[in-house]
């Protein structure tokens, strides 16, 4: 395939915040490799992952293409803690009445570039999708969420939602949200929201006045902030594992 021999560039919309040094130095076959997953009609499949890579390598790109059969459910709950560059990409095609649930957290400092990229294809009626992404960054790090939703002409009663919030612990860090909606059906609900802010100073002082150190207050506030991304994860043990990994990554953060 010809696509496999060329590398993406920053001109490609879905790669505009990527670490191009990493991409340029990569084998195109690795960059263009997609894992695939088939969710049979009426069934549920999930992926629950902490992407810590980067401790030993410069980065990682993980791309997954999912097809969800009629009335099926695919859920992905993912935390990116590592990587000078870490990119997690999901392309999900939904059959009639299927659901895609995504909760993602990027958390990191230094000069890390961490991103989630999703393409959700509502090709059939009555399918739903819900995506919640939280980015917590410090140092010179960047956390991004590029979320594209395509609703086909006959995919009536589609209900798609995207919510992104970025929390910057220091000046110099950044967060990007790029929602992209392409809707051809006329009876659909598509909602998206994005905000970027800093830790609430009033809350920090309030917590300090009750005896919590800056570090403890920051940890509690970050825990509350990222919690939204895991609300729809029913497995409590898994939820705790993802939360623990998130808070562990916070320990290297500045105060």
């Amino acid at each position: 395939m010809s696509e496999a021999v060329t590398l993406p560039t920053r001109r490609d919309e879905a790669w505009r915040y990527a670490d191009m040094d990493f991409v340029a130095a990569s084998d195109p076959r690795v960059i263009h490799h997609w894992r695939t997953l088939e969710v049979p009609a009426g069934e549920t499949r999930g992926e629950y992952t902490v992407h810590r890579s980067g401790a030993t390598s410069e980065g990682m790109v993980d791309r997954l293409r999912v097809h969800v059969g009629k009335g099926g459910r695919f859920e992905a709950f993912k935390v990116i803690t590592g990587g000078k560059y870490a990119r997690v990409e999901l392309e999900v095609t939904l059959e009639e009445g299927a659901h895609f649930e995504f909760g993602g957290v990027t958390i990191g400092g230094d000069a890390k570039t961490q991103e989630f990229v999703t393409l959700t294809k509502h090709d059939h009626p009555n399918a739903t999708s819900n995506q919640t992404v939280r980015a917590v960054q410090w140092g010179k790090a960047t956390g991004s969420f590029l979320g594209e939703i395509k609703v086909a002409r006959h995919a009536q009663k589609t209900d798609a939602a995207q919510d992104f919030k970025g929390l910057l612990l220091e000046p110099g860090a950044s967060a990007n949200a790029v929602p992209q909606l392409e809707i051809f059906a006329d009876d659909v609900k598509c909602a998206h929201g994005a905000t970027v802010g800093q830790l609430d100073e009033a809350a920090r002082f309030y917590m300090a006045s009750r005896g919590l150190s800056q570090e403890q207050a920051q940890r509690l506030l970050v825990q509350a902030f990222v919690g939204d991304a895991f609300v729809e994860l029913e497995d409590e043990k898994m939820r705790e594992e993802l939360l623990d990994a998130t808070l562990e990554a916070l320990e290297s953060a500045a105060l």
């Binding site: 609430d200 006045s209 005896g211 506030l221």
Partner: protein, 254 residues
């Protein structure tokens, strides 16, 4: 147990504005000391400076608390040393439950003092007891900190926090604002049962006599233009209520 000497403080970083201009005040153990004063006198600034709120600068003077220099301590260390600040506007913390917040806060304080942490069960027992004292439903404590609470509920929650943390000294900044008559009585009685003790002290900042009818102060001071201009017994508050600040202060100056 709290000794404030010639305290000067400013607010604002770029263009600091002097608010406290030589404030001196001493509160003994076992004493409830009410601070009254007109708007803009510096009452809330005093509370914020004692708590260590960012944005306030102490330019001179000292505060000794429980034998320590208060300004040597970070805000969370002041709390662990036994200082409690009751907020005029308690802060909402979405996503954090009262139970989690207060348990972590109490155990952080205990750790600082070299005490063993309370277990989950021990903490819940304590929380239940203090919530009952303020007639607050335990279900409220399971909710997020101050989120969706009415003004009165927030103030009652402040007092539940005070009960759980069991401080040596409380600075209560307009704890009576936003309370209806019933809630005022509950909060006032809560202050009495938690803080009326020979080893404890209270600095009670208020505008109104009505809270002082319940929490009977031992001393009353008038704060005006950044200084204490007059100190007296409980009758001083009554005179203020009848005659107003201007008349009482004019008389004192004469």
């Amino acid at each position: 147990m709290l000794k404030i000497t010639d305290l000067h403080a400013t607010v604002g970083e770029d263009n600091p504005k002097p608010i406290l201009k030589g404030l001196s005040l001493e509160v003994q153990a076992g004493e409830v000391h009410a601070i009254m004063g007109p708007n803009g006198a510096g009452k809330s600034t005093l509370a914020n400076v004692l708590g260590g709120k960012p944005g306030y600068d102490v330019t001179s003077g000292s505060v000794e608390f429980a034998g320590e220099d208060l300004f040597d301590l970070d805000p969370h260390e002041r709390a662990a040393t036994g200082l409690f600040l009751g907020f005029q506007y308690p802060v909402e913390i979405p996503g954090v439950s009262n139970v989690q917040f207060l348990r972590e806060a109490l155990n952080a304080q205990r750790k600082f003092r070299g005490e063993e942490p309370l277990s989950g069960g021990e903490f819940l027992k304590l929380a239940k007891e203090k919530a009952a004292l303020l007639k607050m439903d335990m279900e409220m404590l399971k909710r997020q900190v101050n989120v969706g609470f009415s003004g009165g509920e927030k103030k009652r929650a402040e007092m539940v926090q005070m009960g759980i943390l069991d401080p040596k000294f409380a600075v209560l900044d307009e704890t009576d604002s936003g309370l209806d008559i019933d809630a005022l009585r509950i909060v006032g009685e809560g202050i009495n049962s938690i803080m009326r003790d020979s080893g404890k002290g209270v600095l009670l900042i208020t505008h109104y006599q009505r809270l002082l009818d319940v929490v009977k102060p031992d001393r009353v001071s008038i704060l005006a233009d950044g200084r204490i201009v007059q100190t007296g017994g409980p009758d001083l508050a009554l005179r203020l209520e009848d005659e107003g600040y201007d008349a009482v202060m004019a008389e004192a100056a004469a």
